[in-house]
């Protein structure tokens, strides 16, 4: 018997769900592999024993520290940052109607890094010890995070103003993002110059991102904020679908468009700020994650939002592992993600340009034909 349309639709949705499940499983498997590689263990059974029988005396003490104090926080950092930046990118692309939108391309990441630097260097949120190797200890994560958040809101506010006042095209919006990024990078460099002795490592750390800094307590803070914002985004998944059709349609469907747009951008900025505060700038995750998932399962936000989170985490896990093991020394993860994200970004720009050209041709031919 032939299947009814409803069954076919459900089957179609099950396929999308399957993609999500595969991505989630991939995160778990990749995490275990990364943990295994980074802790340099003898065998997987050794790893499982450390994971599930933490206090078993047969475990090597160093291995236990490598897994529990270094490996797992690092993996959780990558997963949380991937979740946060992936979903923030997907939401920004929707509410700004801009496929090129993401925390990094619109300058929000750089603004947050500038804010974090101010928090550490000027507001006294961190202790920087400069004698033996340079290390930064954030002794007041709240000041750093709040400062990062305020500055990321400044960048977001400018983007919102641009959208409201000038109705900019997506490309122009990204140009504005480039300008904002430059301004905030210059601000970071300025701080570096002013506080020369200590600040160099801050700059390097914040500009290239690292998954290895956050402690368990900081991860708990990141987790709570990320969870709240993600729940808000997921709750509004149908409203984002309505917004994709157009503002007027969304309003006529009962969506408070202005509030949704403002709160979403605000929440995306908050996610960016909290990630940047503790992990530095990780470029392009908000662009890579959503766009790969769009290719796989389309733009339905019920699947796109979780998919972007999972894909973001997966990319970040793999990139961080490559950065850790490719060379004799650790490459910052931001460099790897930029190598991956830069080409995609160029591709999207070119495709957007070509699409526009086709649209203009269509318009001309339809006008010519109707008169």
């Amino acid at each position: 018997m032939e299947k009814s349309g409803i069954e076919k639709f459900k089957e179609h949705n099950r396929k999308k769900l399957l993609v999500l499940i595969v991505l989630a499983l991939a995160i778990i498997i990749v995490s275990l592999i990364v943990l295994y590689i980074n802790a340099d263990l003898n065998s997987f059974s050794n790893l499982f024993n450390i994971l599930f029988n933490k206090n078993d005396p047969s475990n090597d003490n160093l291995d236990r520290i490598l897994v529990w104090d270094l490996g797992i926080p690092r993996i959780l950092s990558a997963i949380l940052a991937g979740f946060a930046l992936g979903i923030a990118g997907a939401v920004m692309q929707c509410v700004l109607k801009n496929p090129l939108g993401s925390p990094y391309t619109l300058g929000v990441s750089n603004a947050a890094a500038f804010g974090a630097s101010i928090g550490i260097v000027i507001l006294g949120g961190g202790i920087i010890t400069g004698q033996s190797g340079v290390t930064i200890t954030i002794n007041n994560p709240y000041i750093v995070a709040i400062s990062a958040f305020i500055w990321s809101m400044v960048a977001t506010g400018i983007i919102i103003l641009l959208v409201k006042v000038t109705k900019v095209s997506p490309e122009t919006m990204v140009l504005a993002g480039v300008a904002l990024s430059s301004i905030f990078s210059a601000g970071i460099s300025f701080l570096q110059y002013m506080y020369n002795e200590y600040a160099l490592s801050t700059i390097v750390f914040w500009q290239f991102g690292s998954m290895g800094k956050a402690t368990w307590e900081e991860l708990a803070l990141i987790f709570i904020i990320t969870l709240i914002v993600i729940l808000y985004f997921l709750y509004n998944r149908l409203d984002y679908n309505a917004l994709d059709v157009g503002d007027d349609v969304a309003s006529s469907l009962g969506v408070n468009v202005n509030r949704l747009r403002l709160v979403s951008l605000f929440a995306a900025a908050l996610l960016t700020a909290i990630i940047v505060s503790f992990m530095g700038i990780v470029a392009f995750i908000g662009l890579l994650g959503p766009h790969i998932v769009r290719r796989l399962i389309g733009n339905d936000h019920r699947y796109l939002l979780p998919g972007s989170m999972f894909m973001g985490a997966l990319i970040l896990l793999v990139s961080d592992c490559i950065g850790q093991n490719l060379m004799d020394f650790t490459l910052p993860v931001g460099i790897i993600t930029s190598f991956l994200g830069g080409p995609l970004f160029l591709y999207l720009l070119i495709r957007g340009y070509r699409k526009k050209k086709i649209d203009i041709r269509k318009l001309i031919s339809s006008r010519g034909g109707s008169k």
């Binding site: 009814s4 349309g5 409803i6 076919k8 639709f9 459900k10 179609h12 109607k97 149908l238 409203d239 679908n241 309505a242 994709d244 059709v245 157009g246 007027d248 349609v249 309003s251 006529s252 469907l253 009962g254 969506v255 408070n256 769009r294 389309g298 733009n299 339905d300 041709r361 001309i364 339809s366 006008r367 010519g368 109707s370 008169k371």
Partner: protein, 271 residues
């Protein structure tokens, strides 16, 4: 009591220029009403006021006797559905696109009932074969059907359409209008739409509302399709012929207004 009562509605973006000047009319179930008038005359603004996308600067709008301002946006969305002239395609399926119309009825997640309602509308519009296609892959006429399908899935009493036949060829214009006619009669809706083509409007509408510069010039059945009213609204001399009982509006050949004016669209467009 009529389904829709528009009472002395005025609207302006700023206080300088009024876009709508004192528009009043009633509309009832099972009625198709065409709003006719030149470009930039406030037709779309009037539609947006009825959907509460714009708030009138004066006057009231009642649906089933309730002031729309006293309804929450969700409650209003259960009564009024809107298809604007410009919508965006996105990479979602036809089925999902139509399911978006259930949004005012959905509390937390889409239910089986929502899916069934969406499917019955997909079937009635003849979109079954396309239901799992992405909307950015279907034709303009099909996309317009999806838009209207989404609006009907809202289960509204009032369907508001902005230029539903715009950008469609003559065959698709009539297919779309016939479909609108069909769903209006089937669901007993009231439909208000803006139209450019008077003849297409007279073919499918029960009532006509003429607007010029934000002012209501005439409202009524086919009797308002007459040369005087059309000339006062569009500034063009026409004959209204009787074509099998249908009024047929034909512009007169010698138009004083055409002196030296080149109609839009003639002349070069270049790449």
């Amino acid at each position: 009591m009529s389904l829709l009562e528009v009472k002395s509605v005025r609207f302006s973006y700023d206080d300088e220029r009024e876009i709508l000047k004192d528009v009043s009319f009633d509309a009832d179930h099972n009625n198709i009403i065409s709003i006719l008038g030149p470009n930039g005359t406030g037709k779309t603004t009037l539609l947006k006021c009825i959907c509460n996308i714009h708030r009138p600067t004066a006057g009231e709008i009642y649906i089933d006797g309730t002031d729309i301002l006293s309804l929450s946006s969700r409650e209003l969305a259960k009564r009024v559905a809107y298809v604007p002239q410009k919508t965006y395609t996105s990479r979602i399926t036809v089925f999902d696109s139509i399911l978006i119309g259930r949004r005012p009825h959905i509390e937390w997640a889409t239910t089986q009932k929502d899916v069934e309602i969406a499917w019955s509308i997909i079937e009635s519009l003849g979109l079954s074969d396309l239901s799992l296609k992405y909307v950015d892959e279907i034709s303009g006429g099909e996309f317009q059907k999806v838009q209207i399908g989404r609006a009907i899935t809202q289960e509204p009493k009032l369907l508001i359409l902005d230029e539903p036949s715009n950008n469609l060829d003559i065959a698709n214009q009539h297919i779309t209008m016939r479909m609108i006619n069909h769903v209006v009669r089937e669901h007993g809706l009231c439909t208000i739409m803006t139209m450019h083509d008077i003849n297409l409007a007279t073919y499918y509408s029960d009532k006509f509302l003429f607007i010029k510069d934000g002012e209501m010039i005439a409202y009524g059945g086919k009797e308002v399709i007459n040369p005087e009213i059309i000339q006062s609204v569009y500034g063009i001399e026409v004959d209204v012929l009787d074509y099998n009982g249908q009024p047929l509006v034909v512009p007169k050949k010698d138009q004083p207004q055409y002196d030296g004016l080149v109609p839009a669209g003639i002349g070069g467009y270049s790449d």
